[in-house]
Structure formats: C-alpha cells, structure tokens
Amino acid sequence: MDDLKQNNLKTASEHGIQAPLALLAELSHRCPLQCPYCSNPVQLEKKTGELTTDEWKSVIDQAVEMGMHQIHLSGGEPTVRHDLEDIVEHCSKTGLYTNLITSGVLLNPERLNKLESLGLEHVQLSFQDTDNDNADRIGGFKGGHAKKLEVAKWVRDVDLPLTCNCVVHRQNINNLDNFIKMALDLDAERVEIAQVQYYGWALKNRAAFIPTPEQLDHATEIVEKARVDLKGKLVIDYVIPDYYAKHPKNCMGGWGRRFLNMNPKGEVLPCHAAETIPHLKFDNVRDHSLKWIWENSEAFNLYRGTDWMPDPCKSCDRKEIDWGGCRCQAMALTGDAKNTDPACSISPLHNEIFDMAAEEARNAPPEFIYRKYNVRFNSPI
C-alpha cells in the first residue's frame, strides 16, 4: 500500500513502451441485461457522469494522434447512448478501426444500417447460451436470445462482419458444439469462446460458473477439433479459465504495455477490471491529455515492467512473458495486487485456491447473484 508514496516511478517511455494499440471505450455502464459475470466494476457510473459527445470526440482525436489502431465501443451497453452514431462517424473519419461490442437487444435494422453507413467495421454480439430459456435466464432478460439471433441476421444483412462472443461456464459448457454451429449458421467470421474470468461481479458467482477440470478438458478438445475442421471458414478464439492453466494469462499483454481502457466518466484504466484494486487512483481525460496519462499516470506506472515484482515472479524466467499474470486477480484472491497471480502454478496460494474452486465445481451450482443496473431500468431508449 505504500506504493503510492513513491514518486520515482518510471514512465511509459522510460520502460521503452510505445503508444497503446487499441482503446476500449466504455461509453456507458447502463445495460438492460443482468449477467451474473458482468465485467463492469461493482460501483457503476450514473448516466449524468458520462462523458459528452464532444469529450469522446476529443479522446478519439487524441487516440489517433498517438497512433492507436483500433477502438472498441463497449459498455455496459453502448447502444443506450443516443450519440453512438456521432461517435462511430467520428471514429471512422479519423481512421480508427471501429468495433461495436454489444448485447444487441436494443438494436433495430435501421440503426444498424445507419451505423454501417457511418463507417462501423465490425459487430461483436454476446450470447449467453444456445438454449433459449437458459440464455434468457443467465442474462436476466426475457426474449433476449431470440432478439440476438435476429440482430445477428441484420448485422450480416448490411454486410458487417460478425463475431459471436460466447461466455462459457458450467451451466452452458455442454452446448459448446452448438455455440460453434450457431456461429456458422449466423455466418459469423469469428467466434470467441470465453470462459468466465473471476473478478468483480463474476467472483461473487464463481461457484455457479466454474467448470470441473474434466468439463474443461472436454471443451478444449471440441475447440481444437473445430479449429482444424473450420480453418479458413471460422476463426475461433478460446480463453480458458486461468484457474486451470499452468501459467497465468499475460493479462492485457502486460500492465500498461499495449492497451488502455476508459470508463464512462473519462477515467483511464490499464484494464477494464482495474477499479477492483482499491488503492489505484485513475487520471481523467477531463484533467489531462490521453498521451500524458499513458506516459505518467501512477495507476499505469505502478505495475509496469518488472521492478515492482516480489518473488516468485521476480526470479522467474517467464516474468517478461506473463508479466506476473493479472493484478486484479491477485488483488481479489490474495488481498495484494503485487502478489503473483494465484492462477500461476508456482504461486504459493495456487493449490489452496485451486482446490477451493475445484470443490465448488463438484458441488451443485448455487443461485445466481444477478447484476442489475437499476431495478426500474425498463426502457433505456
């Protein structure tokens, strides 16, 4: 905790780090779905605190000047914003590759057509399951799955490429074949099979989601076979729950090395879950330029490079491969963001946490703790 007293932190350029590659822009935390694995912070931002259209346009200009390649318009649900069209148009004009990450349930064909004509380049649509009832139960939104299937068709009707983002866990992992088949039927370019990652809200529901090692192995076999069978037809990206990995994920390609994330009120984060680390103070684009923040922000510089690492990371020959794993997971599971991510098999806490999770996976799943933006949130349009 006394990290913050240090004022001699090395900056991005002193670490030899170039400008970030992509910006994840959380336009709003508002969302009609209630997914129990929501990746947004536990404390959601209100509409009144969100950046204005002009503020986002300025951010986009700055991102382009820095040399960023891509922008991911995300949330919450980005389509709740009435100025999404203006933002997409501005991204496209300035040459950023523009990706919309959406649940789809608020879209209609006219709006998609408009977004495509303004320069949107890709739509990533989330799916909770392939089974209609179970999908709606998980998302907490009646009629959601049927609507998503329609939206996927509209996306392809306007000739936008489609990614199906399938969040997989013990309550839908048996439908993995069907997820891949669904992506093919919907004429998707790409499918993401992403196992739930356990921090923030998802950690509250870990016992409801975590698969057994056997379920996971079976899923991995299916994915590997499909990758061979569908080479050149469907790109399959696969993320395993890192509890069962030997090495931790090199989260975000290393803290503050490649990407940055902006929350709806303009704070700049090294990753979308960084707000789960309570002592981090984030700089805001209302106070500083994006470039200044990338270079100087303490929240970024604290865990850049390897100087901050304790053992076993410090003496590990993978320290510049894994970068210590995930800071947010270390915080959530060990109480100190500097510790080795317990997903790593040489973390001193790995076995204890792994055993606990495996035990949860063997027992019957508990009820979900749903994520509600607002109980009265009926009609965001």
Partner: protein, 97 residues
C-alpha cells in the same frame, strides 16, 4: 465467412470489406486491421499487399514484383502464393468475384 480459398496463379486476391491494409503515420508502419486482429507486416509483405487490388492476378502481382526487384519470377511467385495463402487461411484475403 466464405469457404476455404486455394491461392493459385489465376486468383484475383482482394481484401474483404472489413479488412483494412493501412499505413499508420504516427507509428510509421503498415498493418492489417481486422476484428480483434492487428498484423504487423515486414517490408516484403507490404510490397506484395500494395499490389492487391482485386484486379491483378497472383501471377501478375508476381511478375510486377520480379521486375521491380529484379528477382527470379518463380521464387517470387512461390513467396507471393505462400503469403497470400497464409493470409487467406486467417480470413484476411479473399477472391474477387
């Protein structure tokens, strides 16, 4: 996504609508951009891809490069074919028509 494409001499390669081959000025580099994908390119790849326009065949691209760089045509043809096949398998190149 369409079915697997086999790159042969007569194929007219082009970039799919959602795949952008572009120069990033602040970084001074050419890249391919696609959904959740960023491919950094070496100079050889850049020279090949600058000729990909949906009009020129693989064979004609190779002839043009072999003249420009004064290199053996059959070796260039193989390099061009291999690279485009690899990019096609990843969904970054398709056939015009």
């Amino acid at each position: 996504m369409t079915d697997t494409l086999k790159i042969t001499d007569d194929v007219l390669p082009k970039f799919p609508k959602h795949v952008k081959f572009k120069y990033n000025k602040p970084r001074d580099e050419w890249v391919i951009l696609a959904p959740e994908r960023l491919v950094k390119l070496d100079m050889v790849a850049v020279e090949i891809l600058k000729l990909v326009d949906g009009e020129k065949s693989v064979k004609n691209i190779s002839i043009e490069l072999s003249q420009k760089f004064n290199a053996p045509k059959d070796i260039i043809l193989k390099d061009v074919t291999d690279m485009l096949q690899d990019l096609s398998d990843k969904g970054f190149i398709e056939e015009n028509g």
